[in-house]
Structure formats: C-alpha cells, structure tokens
C-alpha cells in the first residue's frame, strides 16, 4: 500500500481531509487498532516462530543423527527415532493451533474474519500423511515462519514511529551537535510520529493480505466449498419447489375441489328435480342445465390441473402406479414398463413423473404419432427414463415452444441429463437419466 493509498483510505473513512487530517489520524481508532494488531503480531509471531523453529531444529537434529548413524547409548537412538516420527505429528497440531491464534488476532484487532481451511478427514496413516500433502499446511507454516521474522520487525518499526519524539528527546541529550542538526533531529522525529498511523495501517494491510492468502482456504479449496454449498442449496431449492407443489395440490384438493363438487352436485340435484318440470319456466331450467354443465366442465379441468401438480398416488404407491394413470389418459396407445424395485427419493420420483407426463404431452401435441412407449428402469444408482414415439421427429431440447427444454433443466438441477434423438421423419426418443441413490 502506498502512502497516497493509505491517505486516501483514511480520508475516505474519516471524512474529508484538511490541514488537520494528519493530527486526527493520530487519534483515529483505526490507527490504534492497526498498531495494537502489529504489536500483538510482534509477540505472537515471534513466540510461534520460536516454538516452531525449536521443534523443527529438534526434528532436524534427530533425523540427521539417524541418517548419519547415531552414536551413544541405544536408548538415545530410540529417543531420536521417536522424535523423528512424533515431531511431524505434533507440528501439525501446533501449526493448526498457531493459525487459530493468528486468525483470532485478525478477528479481534482488525475485524477481519479468515475462514479456517478444512483438514482432510481420514484415520491412521492417512491422517498423518495427508495434511503434509495439502497445500494449506505448507501455506500456514510459511505464514508462521514469515511472521516470526517480519512480525517482530513490523512491530518494532511501528513502535519506533510512535515513540520517535520520546526517543529523540532521550538520545538528543547525548548529542553534541550544532543547532541546525538538532532541529533536523526533532523535525525528523515529528515526521516519524505523523507517519506512524499510515505506517501502521500499511503494515497491517500487508499482514492481512498475507494472512488471507496463507491462513485461509486456498483457491481450489474455496471453489470446492463453494461447489458444495451450491449443490446443497440447489438440492434444497428442488425439494422446496417440490413440497410447494404438494402443498398447493393439497390446498386445492381440500378447498376449491370439494366446494366445486358440492356446487356441481347441488346443481345436479336441481337439474334432476326441475329439469323436466313443466311448472318451472323454460329459462330457469336452461340456466340450471347450463350452470350444471359449466360446473362439471370446471371440475374436470381443475381435476386435470391438480393431478398434474402432484398426484397423491405417487407418494403412496410410487412411479408405476402414478404413471399408469398418466398413460391411460393419453389419446394414443402407450406401452408402459416400469421396473423400479426400490423407490427413489420423492423429489426424483416427482421429476421422473413430470418428465414422462410432459414428454407424452409433447408427443400428443407435436409428434403426430400413432403410438408411444415409456420405459422406466433403475440400474444401480441411476434411474433411466425412455419415452419414444413413432411420430415425424424433428424435436429438440433447444427449440422454443416444447416443454423439452424445461425438462432438461429440471433433470440438470439434480445432476441428471436429458437427450433427444429425433431425426426429421422420426422416430423420436427422449432419454432422461436421473440419480437415484
């Protein structure tokens, strides 16, 4: 960070600059936070570095002795060997603990939270070896070694800046210099004092940048975490959409549908009672008949719509039962074969169900087919759905106006896929592959 950059950052944070800005910076909380941070870094970094160096030295000495041929009593050889083996294990925990302390320093004094990288799981030898093959271990180690040298250095620099006038006064007494150099001496120390906030901030920023890079998760790990989060939230989204459909279906079934049945039934009773009664004016009879017909039609339309939302039988009896209902309603002969011994999750079943309904609806709308075939099979962890027809072909999952694109998206949302083979002239085969753990 440049001086100008630090200045800009400070004035942005502290409001407009002015002749008093350098003075205000001296008392700004940010300056002091940065200073405390660096002073804490001085001690913490130094202490961690000392411990790690000592342990490292111990290991190196033990290993070196073993390699060059140990001398001395046999017990000493055992101690060497134990040290050579134990140190890498102990160091791992030490590094982790040191990183935790350092991250705490950033969190408390800088308000910067650095995510802890995840340690590979495993047991036995894997647990010992794996961390040493992970980049993050080496990065953290690098930070602690850097901090052991640069941390104390930065801490001392910033202390010297803040204390410059006092130091100048203390040492100035011993000087036998002339007036001019004495003035320069004090002007220089004042300049250092006024520079202290920016020095502190700049160094703290550099420290933060290094820590983010070295103590935090690496790029690959961050991406892996992100992918994991995305996969989880996507799954939740799919499940939420699915349960929302169920809820709407249930509400419609319990509410509007029952009312409409009741209405149609009452109109039916009225029609049965007065439809052929000559004592009732013809207009009234016509109205009753028309209303009854309307209610019956509305009921049928609503029934088709509601069943399309989520058939209750899918929950109860699974895909086979639900699909035979779909197939039966098709205006063309459809051969259905469902071979799913063990049921898939409700979301996957729902997607499979809608895939078949939509694909068949497409066949009816676009294919001019005379017959169709639906096969649903489960092999291992996958559910395979094949819908084929003998229509004129030319269907595409990219084309607008067909529901195939929506189906492809639905399948992809659960890591499935949809392929369409539909040469001009036909036949058309839509294959959907879904996970089914």
């Amino acid at each position: 960070m440049t001086y100008a950059g630090a200045h800009e950052a400070m004035t942005n944070a502290r409001g407009p600059g002015g002749p008093l800005a350098p003075v205000r910076a001296l008392s700004a909380p940010r300056s002091w936070h940065a200073t405390f941070h660096l002073v804490a870094g001085l001690f913490l970094g130094g202490a961690i570095g000392a411990v790690l160096s000592f342990v490292g030295l111990l290991w190196w000495a033990a290993t070196f002795s073993l390699v060059t041929g140990p001398t001395g009593p046999r017990a000493l050889v055992v101690v060497y060997a134990l040290t050579a083996v134990a140190v890498p294990v102990v160091v791992l925990d030490a590094v982790r603990f040191a990183s935790v302390l350092q991250r705490e320093r950033f969190r408390v004094l800088q308000g910067v939270s650095i995510a802890a990288p995840r340690w590979g799981k495993g047991s036995g030898l894997r647990r010992l070896v794996q961390p040493w093959t992970a980049g993050t271990t080496w990065r953290q180690l690098a930070y602690h070694l850097l901090a052991a040298v640069l941390g104390p250095l930065a801490g001392i620099v910033v202390i010297v800046c803040w204390a410059a006038p006092v130091l100048a006064a203390l040492w100035g007494d011993d000087m036998t210099a002339t007036g001019l150099s004495r003035v320069l001496w004090y002007v220089g120390s004042a300049a250092l004092l006024f520079a202290a906030p920016w020095v502190a901030l700049g160094l703290a920023r550099a420290d933060t940048a290094a820590a983010r890079r070295l103590l935090g998760p690496g790029r690959a790990e961050e991406l892996a975490l992100r992918v994991e989060t995305l996969a989880r939230t996507r799954e939740q989204l799919v499940a939420a959409a699915d349960s929302e459909r169920r809820r709407v279906e249930r509400d419609l079934h319990d509410g509007v549908q029952q009312r409409l049945v009741s209405l149609a039934m009452n109109l039916g009773m009225a029609r049965a009672a007065y439809g052929d009664d000559d004592g009732v004016p013809q207009e009234i009879r016509d109205v009753i008949v028309a209303a009854h017909d309307e209610a019956t039609t509305a009921l049928a339309e609503l029934r088709d719509f509601v069943r399309g939302l989520h058939p209750a039988v899918l929950n109860d009896r699974g895909l086979d039962a639900a699909l035979s209902g779909v197939v039966a309603r098709m205006p063309l002969p459809v051969r259905l074969r469902v071979d799913v011994a063990e049921r898939c999750s409700p979301s996957i079943e729902a997607i499979a169900y809608f895939t078949v309904s939509e694909a068949l609806a497409n066949v009816v709308k676009h294919a001019r087919a005379t017959r169709a075939e639906v096969t649903v099979t489960r092999a291992g962890g996958r559910l395979s759905i094949v819908v084929s027809d003998d229509g004129h072909g030319g269907a595409s999952a990219d084309g607008p106006g067909t529901g195939l694109r929506g189906l492809a998206q639905r399948a992809e949302a659960v890591d499935g896929n949809l392929t369409v083979v539909s040469p001009a002239g036909g036949p058309t085969t839509v294959t959907v592959d879904l996970p089914c753990e």
């Binding site: 079934h253 009312r259 009854h292 209750a312 109860d316 039962a321 035979s324 209902g325």
Partner: protein, 213 residues
Amino acid sequence: MRVVLAEDSVLLRAGLTKLLTDGGFEVVAAVSDGDKLLAAVDEHRPDVVVVDVRMPPTHTDEGIRAALVIRRQHPKIAVCVLSQYVEERYATDLLSVDTAGVGYLLKDRVAQVSDFLDALRRVAGGGTALDPEVVAQLLVRRRDDPMERLTPREQDVLRLMAEGRSNNGITEALRVSHSAVEKYVSNIFTKLDLPPTDTDHRRVLAVLKYLGT
C-alpha cells in the same frame, strides 16, 4: 337401503347425505375418517358404504384401506369408493378381493345425480360400477395379453361389462342390436376360455380376466 357415508369435507358430507336421502337411501351414519367408518360399519351393518379415498390423518389412501378391511370382514356389505382422481392401482386392490358389490367412481360423478344413484344401487345390489377412467387405466396394462385376441368392438363390450352394465345397457351405449351384443358377449367368453356355466358368473370371470386381477 341403509348407507354409511365417510367423507372428511363437511360441506360434501352434508351434500351427499341430502343427495342419498333424496335418492331413497337411508344414511344411518356419516363420518369423517377411516377408523370412525369401521366403527360405524360394525355398529350399523349397512347395505352399502360410500367412502372417500383421501381422509385424515394422512390424506392419502385411508378410504381404500378402510374399504379393503370392510370387504374382508363383511363380504356382504357393498362398498362404493369415491375419489377426486381414480387410480388403477387402487382399483386393482379393491377388485382383488371380489368384484361383486364394488364401486370405484370419480367424485365428479355425483354431479350426474341419477347416474350416480343408479351406479350406487347397482353396487348395493351386488353389481360392479367402475368409472370409465378406471377401466381405461386398467386397459393400458392389459394390452399385451389374451385380451388382444378380442376385436376392438368386443373390447368395447367387455369394458362396458366391467363398468357393470347389463346387456341392455350395452345395447344402449353402443347403439347396436340386442342380438349383436349377445353375440359379442358369447365371443368374449369363448376367446377368454370361459366354460358355459352360470352366465352371471362367467360375466364376473370375464371382467376379472379383463382386469387381470
């Protein structure tokens, strides 16, 4: 005829009670779930039970389960199941015990008052009444078996038989002569390898074969 009614919607329960009463049935109990239905059946021993499929507590297939229990425990009591949607699988379950005295209709059908009452009387009298939608669904499953030996016309006749129609009813529905219907029926019996015994019994067997249960 004495009826026990099970329907969880208060509105519909009241409406159906009125419809049945107006239609000459005596509604001896109107309940709201499967357990109460079984208790009411034990208590009143009705001639026929009218039951909705989706009822509390799970709102899935309580009605079908209750109907199956009634079929087993009281084979003399006819059961007519009403449902917002008809499902082939439920029909197969229902018919697996016996096809006599069974009805499975879309709830919508209650709006066609006289048709519904006719169907219910047929069921109460030991006949069958299957919704055309149920029959259509069952047909889908039976496309690749002996049924294919039947001509389309004969399949039509068999489907109407499955719905519980008499020969007169079939004559009316298909607008063909009575003798033609008799000929189709006898062809169906022959093609399905049903020996000439009691006609009604053969009818039930034909329907059973057709439904594949």
